[in-house]
Every structure is written in C-alpha cells, then in structure tokens.
Amino acid sequence: MKKIETKQEYLDYVDQKSPNSPILKNCFNAFWVGGLICSIGQIIFDFCKYKGFDDTSCSTIVSIILIGLAALLTALNIFNKIGKFAGAGSLVPITGFANSIVSPAIEYKSEGYVMGVGGKMFTVAGPVLVYGISTSIIVGIIATFFV
C-alpha cells in the first residue's frame, strides 16, 4: 500500500476499504415487501369498491388503513424489524410515512406530551409535508393560468 498524504487520497482509500451494502439482496427484499404492501392496498381498494364506494373514497380508506396498520406495527416494535429487512420496501409506501410520524412520537414521549410527542412528531416526516404541500400549492398557482 502506498503512503497517504492528502485528505482526498484518504477518502478514496476509505471508500475502497468500506464494505458496500448488499444491494441486490436489499433490492430483492424491497421489491417483494413493497409489492406486497401495495397489493394489500389493492385488495382493500377492491373491497371498498365492491362495497360501493367511489374511487377517491376507496383511495383514502386504503391510506387510512395502511397508516393505521403501520402505526400499530410501530407501536408493537415490529415495524423496525420489517424496515431493517425490507429497507425501501416499507419506507417508500405510505407505511414509511406513517412509521416516520409514529416512531418519534413514541421515542420522545419521555419529554412530555406537548413538546415531546406533539413537538417531535414531525422531526422525520415534517419535511415530507413541507415539500409536498408547498410544491402542490405552486402547481395550483401555475394551474390558475391555464383554467
């Protein structure tokens, strides 16, 4: 091995020394868990439709049920195990959004119900709402020019 003189040489060396994530295995797990969560959503959707709800209501019911399930699994300390196994498979569906709201709420309970649970609830998911809602408002403003 040759001598390392500069920071850049060291960073390159560290990159080469650090193990990579097992990306194929991770992608495979993400694929089938993510697909499964979406399929559960689809079955709930079809059932609601079968019961006579319109498309928009069906979608909302799917979101609420999946979020409720994710919250329950988070509270039971099961979701983090699924997340460790599935990575993006449970993060990218709406379940990941729910988990990122529920997990700080539980963790910061020790700091009280107002500033702990209430205040810290959005530490991870807050940015999702900020960027999602803000972008949608911009989209809406642009849309007014086309109406």
Binding site: M1, K2, K3, I4, K7, Q8, Y10, L11, Y13, V14, K17, S18, P19, N20, S21, P22, N26, T74, A75, N77, F79, N80, K81, I82, G83, K84, A86, G87, S90, L91, G96, N99, S100, V102, S103, P104, I106, E107, Y108, S110, V124
Partner: protein, 338 residues
C-alpha cells in the same frame, strides 16, 4: 513526572490502577466477553423511566461498585473524572451528583475513559491527589435517540455503521497499592485532533483511524519503544473498518502491529451472530472492555504490558447536519505490571 519527546508524559512514580468495575447491557452480555464483566443487565431500562435515567444509573452504580470493590472509603477519593456522550455530559453529572467527590466533567467522545485516566494519573504523580476515580458510560438507546433516529424507525443500518455499547467502565487510580499487586500507568500520550475529512457519521472507524495512527506513531517515537514491546496494543472503538485501516497505515509508517493489535469494538461483539455490522463504539466500549476484560488479563499476568489507545469522534448532530467533517482524537496510555 516529565514530558518526553513531543507529547508524551513519563511518570516518575507510576500510578496504580487499584480496582476496576464494569456494567454492561443485555446485548453486550450475549457477546464473547460476557463472563469478564462484573454485572450484566437484563434490560436497557434497568427499572428507570427513560434511557437517559438508565444511563445515569449505570454510571452511578458502577462508580459505587468500584469503590466498594476497592475496599477504600469513598471519603478517601480526592477527585473524580467522568464523562459520556449525552449533551453536556448529563449521564455523568446526574449519575454522580450524590457521590460527594469533587468532580471534573470531561468530554473526549468515546476516548473519555482514557482521557480521564490520563488526567487522573497526572494528578496523582504530581501529588495533587492520592486516589482518583475515573468513570464513563454510554447507552445504545440514548445515543441513537440523540445522534441518529428514533428506535422504532424502520431504517437500515449501513454495513459500516457501529453499534453503541450500553455499559460503563470505572477505575480507581492510586499513589500506593495498599499491599495489592496491580498494574501501573507508566506513560501517557495525549493525542492531537486529526481531521482527514470523513463526513459519513455511519463510518466512525474511518474518521478516527488517522487520529489513532498519529497517537500510536508519536508514542513510539517519544518513548523509543517498538510495537513488539507490548503484549497487546488495543484501540478503543475503531471497529472492523478502522482496525484494518490502522494496521495498513501503520505499516506504511514502518510499524508492524498485525500480531499484537486488536480493538475493543471488535472484541465486544460477535459480528456474525449479533449483527452489529462494523463493531462496537461509545464511551462504554473501551470503558467496559478495559475494566472488565483487559484489567483481569493484566491481574492474571496473561498480559503484562499493554498500550491502550482510546479513540473519539468529536462531532455532534448539528455539526453533521451542517455537513462538517468529523474530527478524530486518540489518547494512549501504557499500562504495565512492573
């Protein structure tokens, strides 16, 4: 006591390490060093309501344990040096608020234990103190909460991430051995802050390895010793990645440490069975491994000369959010059966 070379202190009357004590959490108790620890906890809360309270209790009970093991009354201890990872070192100050010993709160990240022993040794050899208590702690859950994410968040840990040890180490240093045979601190080499630009908070070993290298090389240059002089050279929490980096980089500097070098973060967990990725970390890692395992090895003369280099990553969650790189530090102490 005098300074030799660039940054090493040689003690004229090397302080004794009179007694040590260690407490670890349940995961550490499943690891390969379980039988060496004084106390293993069954759950991370230890009957407390919060992770922070649990960590304070760990350092408190461990400090009381080392005092009672040593057989000397608490009133005979002149000063105590303690620190941990939580903001403003609250585990130590809350845990030791009832101990009634003059207190120095210190922060050296995961190198705190050896920093405390270094300062304590100087106090003793200078005559400023006769007995000094050094203690440190870390807790996986309180550290995750402060530095990373809530425990319930379903995220994946990258393979280079290290696992913060739940545990505490405590030692009593003394100017006389009260008739016991115990190892002594002969040299200390306090380290410089070294930053090689690593920004990835999930690769602490790589961030700290250059500091460990600097202290290691400086120690050998200052003392004129060679790596083979020591039965074991032990770093604090470089983990698997940092360990390999240190071995290779030491070789380019002309020091072959392959044979007698290991790392507390590597020793404390079984990588395959415990899924701890790159190994253990945290103040409690070097603290509990030294107080539990290495001190017993020294007492049984299975090891007679060790160089303990505790490493620390001097960052916080704000600095890493602001994209700052992670400065590393490493303090070395030579411990010998004379």
């Amino acid at each position: 006591m005098n300074k030799i070379g660039n940054q090493t202190i040689m003690f004229s009357n090397p302080p004794y390490i009179l007694e040590t004590s260690s407490i670890v959490g349940p995961k550490e108790a499943e690891g390969p060093l379980a039988k060496y620890f004084d106390q293993c906890l069954e759950d991370e809360f230890w009957g407390e309501k919060t992770w922070e309270k649990a960590e304070s209790k760990i350092i408190k009970e461990n400090s009381n344990a080392v005092i009672s093991k040593s057989g000397i009354p608490a009133t005979d201890i002149d000063y105590c040096f303690a620190g941990d990872l939580l903001n403003q070192c609250i585990s130590s100050s809350f845990g030791l608020r009832e101990i009634n010993i003059p207190f120095f709160g210190i922060f050296g990240a995961c190198s705190t234990f050896v920093e405390g022993m270094s300062l304590g040794s100087v106090f003793i050899d200078s005559g400023a103190a006769k007995k000094v208590l050094c203690a440190t702690s870390s807790h996986f859950c309180s550290a995750e909460k402060q530095f990373r994410f809530p425990l319930e968040l379903g995220n994946q840990r990258p393979p280079s991430a290290q696992w913060t040890v739940t545990g505490s180490g405590a030692a009593i240093l003394s100017n006389d051995n009260i008739g016991k045979e115990c190892p002594r601190i002969t040299y200390i080499t306090p380290g410089k802050i070294i930053d090689m630009g690593v920004k990835d908070a999930n690769n602490m070993g790589a961030a700290m390895a250059p500091a460990a290298l600097d202290t290691l090389v400086t120690h050998f240059r200052d003392t004129g010793r060679k790596p083979s002089f020591y039965d074991a050279i032990i770093t604090g929490d470089l983990g698997y990645i940092g360990k390999e980096i240190l071995i290779e980089m030491a070789e380019t500097k002309g020091y072959n440490i392959k044979k007698n070098y290991n790392d507390c973060g590597v020793l404390i967990f079984d990588k395959e069975k415990q899924d701890t990725h790159a190994g253990g970390s945290g103040c409690g890692c070097v603290g509990s491994v030294f107080s539990g395992y290495l001190y017993k090895m020294l007492n049984e003369h299975k090891l007679n000369r060790i160089l303990l280099i505790a490493t620390g990553a001097l960052m916080n969650s704000t600095s890493s959010q602001q994209g700052e790189s992670i400065p590393g530090i490493a303090h070395a102490i030579a411990i010998e059966n004379l």
